[in-house]
């Protein structure tokens, strides 16, 4: 059984929408988007959104719910994802490394089947939706490992069907071109122009403490159960040397400097860290405002 993080950041698209509408912000870039549910909410409400991340499955999810305006997965296509197709040879032992450690033999076999089926999908939009749906299955299984008697036993294909069908409702259009890219913050910020940069900065040593439900899904997407996502961040400003305050502050300052040309920068943090960000904003922004609905949900808003 693997530990699951106790704390989860509350990235609320509706809260961001309230902040954006009050400031006439109509487009946003999030260079550390993670699972881009918040961007999907903003897109659905007419904001043009652009996102970036170094973890590829986040970007694939973004292709499903951010870039994709029309493509959904029909019942027959979902069926082709969740079950083995006759005549196809599947890498059933691809995730054998997790067998008996995190998952059962049957679950590992399904992970191999799904990996193969999803990689054979025809469009990026469909792939993204399938990645999102199947990720929920992985999360369910890991959660069930913690409370096996309290959560319902659902056959893998049925669970996958339910979660993939559910993603269909994420598909929407805002009559604008929305983008996601697998890139570091510099590339993302220089590639697009928008009214606002929003980000919830990675914590100190965040890569070493990544939630199992995030790194395991990247490992699944890459087809390598031994993958370590730390390597993605090794050459970035949030790489190995952000464990001390000075290095971390320099990393944040680098991001704020790269966002210099954007009219607004909104950083989501906690009450404990808000003074730090306020100080870091000072050289880059003429006006800084704090919106603090909760101690664990504080927005530092810098304006030019």
């Amino acid at each position: 059984m693997i530990d699951l993080n106790e704390r989860t950041r509350r990235i609320s698209g509706s809260r961001l929408a309230d902040l954006f509408f009050a400031r006439d912000i109509t487009s946003v870039v999030d260079p550390f988007m993670g699972m881009p549910n918040h961007l999907n909410y903003l897109k659905r409400h007419g904001i043009t959104v652009h996102g970036g991340d170094l973890v590829e499955w986040f970007v694939r999810a973004g292709e499903g719910m951010i870039v994709n305006d029309f493509t959904v997965l029909r019942d027959s296509e979902v069926a082709e994802i969740v079950e083995m197709l006759p005549g196809r040879i599947y890498p059933l032992d691809l995730f054998k490394g997790w067998d008996g450690v995190f998952f059962s033999e049957e679950q590992c076999a399904y992970l191999g089947v799904w990996h193969s089926n999803v990689h054979n999908l025809r469009s990026d939009g469909q792939t993204g939706l399938a990645v999102i749906g199947l990720w929920h299955v992985l999360c369910y299984w890991l959660q069930k490992g913690h409370a096996p008697d309290e959560m319902a036993d659902v056959p893998p294909s049925e669970l996958a069907w339910r979660y993939i069908r559910e993603t269909e409702r994420l598909v929407c259009t805002n009559n604008a071109r929305n983008t996601v890219r697998r890139a570091d913050f510099n590339s993302t910020l220089s590639a697009r122009k928008a009214d606002c940069v929003y980000f919830s900065p990675p914590g100190k040593n965040a890569m070493k403490k990544a939630d199992a439900r995030v790194w395991m899904w990247e490992a699944w997407w890459q087809g390598n159960p031994y993958l370590n996502i730390e390597q993605y961040y090794r050459d970035t400003v949030f790489g190995q040397r952000t464990s001390d305050d000075g290095s971390y502050d320099r990393a944040i300052s680098t991001v704020l400097a790269a966002a210099q040309d954007y009219p607004f920068v909104i950083v989501q943090t906690t009450a404990a860290d808000a003074p730090r960000f306020e100080r870091l904003f000072a050289p880059h922004r003429t006006a800084v405002e704090i919106v603090a609905p909760y101690p664990e949900e504080v927005y530092v808003i810098g304006k030019n």
Partner: protein, 385 residues
């Protein structure tokens, strides 16, 4: 009825009425929201929450459905699109409640996130795991429980309703919240629904203002009635002295006429208000308003008048065919004001050049549809306004 210790009775009554509006919009029976509020407050107390969280849980439970008032009506959209539109109901509710002063600070955010699911498939934000405030998830659990209890009707069994939660453990609800609810349920098998005793000083809560604001939202759902409450209040207040009524009371009653229009489709105003066509729809609106106002003692004094605005002075109106003096004076006043406003709206939408002026047409209906004294008061007030 749940108790609101320390809350003034007018506030408590306003919350009851607002909750009943949410119930109607959500397709629930009257009292559903207050039942959720009561169980949510008891559950929060059982979890050892501080008094402000208990109070916020109570108010969020009571008002969780009012966001539906901002949903567009009469749209011809697919089931999928309707479901997606409904994702915004909690956010609308949060914004409406945030604009009301005097309620506990967390109330609006509990409403905002009370439909999030633990597994990240809820709405509006698709928050997941511990990113969802525990109290918001508790309200969702209570809502699901009470809904399951109601859906079983007379055969309602709390134990079966509890299964609605247990079956969704790890999906909609976290394992912890289900464990806590089961312990709450086991500890209070008979009394878990007893009225909550919520200690909260609602300072600055504008009871009539909040209800009036929501009534304005109801009017705004339909282009034909947008801003109607304010217009009616203005003219009703101007008419009231001539009719021997209190202007402030008449203005409140005028705003409350919106309560009758909590439908998906609003056909009543498509007809000339002086014709008998659409009379059934107008009477149904009146009955709806009367029923809603009946849940709240402070506002119940308006119920008889609001329920009789579709009666005709000559006794041929609906729903009860009451005649002349049997119709409350406030109802007679509102009947003229409503008709005048509907004719104004109709004149803006359609070509009515061949019809006489509105005062002339109203005067022609005096003694039949309207009280002649009220028509005189209306014409005078209209000229003054």
């Amino acid at each position: 009825m749940p108790l609101l210790r320390s809350a003034d009775p007018v506030t408590a009554d306003a919350v009851r009425l607002l909750s009943a509006i949410g119930d109607t919009l959500g397709g629930h029976g009257l009292g559903f929201g207050m039942r959720v509020a009561s169980v949510a407050a008891n559950f929060a107390t059982h979890r050892g929450c501080p008094s402000d969280m208990v109070a916020a849980s109570f108010y969020a439970g009571a008002l969780h459905g009012i966001g539906a008032v901002r949903m567009p009506v009469g749209l011809d959209v697919s089931e999928r699109d309707t479901a997606i539109l409904n994702w915004d109901v909690p956010v609308h509710g949060a914004r409406i409640v945030a604009a009301m002063s005097g309620l506990p600070a967390a109330t609006s955010d509990y409403i905002r996130w009370h439909r999030e699911s633990f597994d990240g498939t809820g709405y509006p934000d698709r928050l997941r795991w511990n990113g969802i405030p525990h109290a918001a998830m508790a309200i969702n659990a209570v809502r699901a429980f009470v809904e399951a209890l109601e859906s079983n009707g007379e055969n309602a069994s709390p134990a079966e309703a509890l299964f609605a939660l247990v079956g969704d453990t790890g999906k909609t609800f976290s394992i912890e919240i289900v464990r806590e609810f089961r312990s709450f349920f086991a500890e209070y098998p008979e009394t878990f629904e007893n009225p909550a005793d919520v200690a909260w000083e609602t300072t600055g809560f504008d009871a009539f203002g909040s209800v009036g604001t929501l009534c304005a939202e109801i009017d705004a759902r339909d282009e034909r009635t947008r801003g109607r409450g304010a217009r009616l209040a203005h003219i009703a207040a101007a008419m009231a002295p001539a009719a021997g009524l209190d202007p402030e009371r008449a203005a409140h009653a005028a705003r409350l006429t919106a309560l009758g229009r909590l439908h998906e489709t609003l056909p009543g105003d498509d007809y000339d208000p002086l014709s008998r066509l659409g009379r059934d729809a107008r009477a149904a609106d009146a009955r709806t308003a009367e029923r809603l106002l009946g849940v709240s003692p402070t506002f119940a004094e308006f119920a008889p008048a609001l329920g009789a605005v579709a009666e005709w002075f000559d006794g041929t109106g609906l729903p009860q065919r009451r005649k002349a003096g049997d119709i409350p004076p406030l109802a007679r006043l509102l009947a003229v004001a409503l008709a005048g406003d509907a004719m104004d709206a109709l004149a803006q939408r359609t070509v009515t050049d061949n019809l006489p002026d509105i005062p002339v047409r109203l005067a022609a209906a005096a003694g039949k549809q309207f009280d002649p004294a009220m028509v005189t008061a209306y014409v005078a007030a209209r000229a003054g306004v």
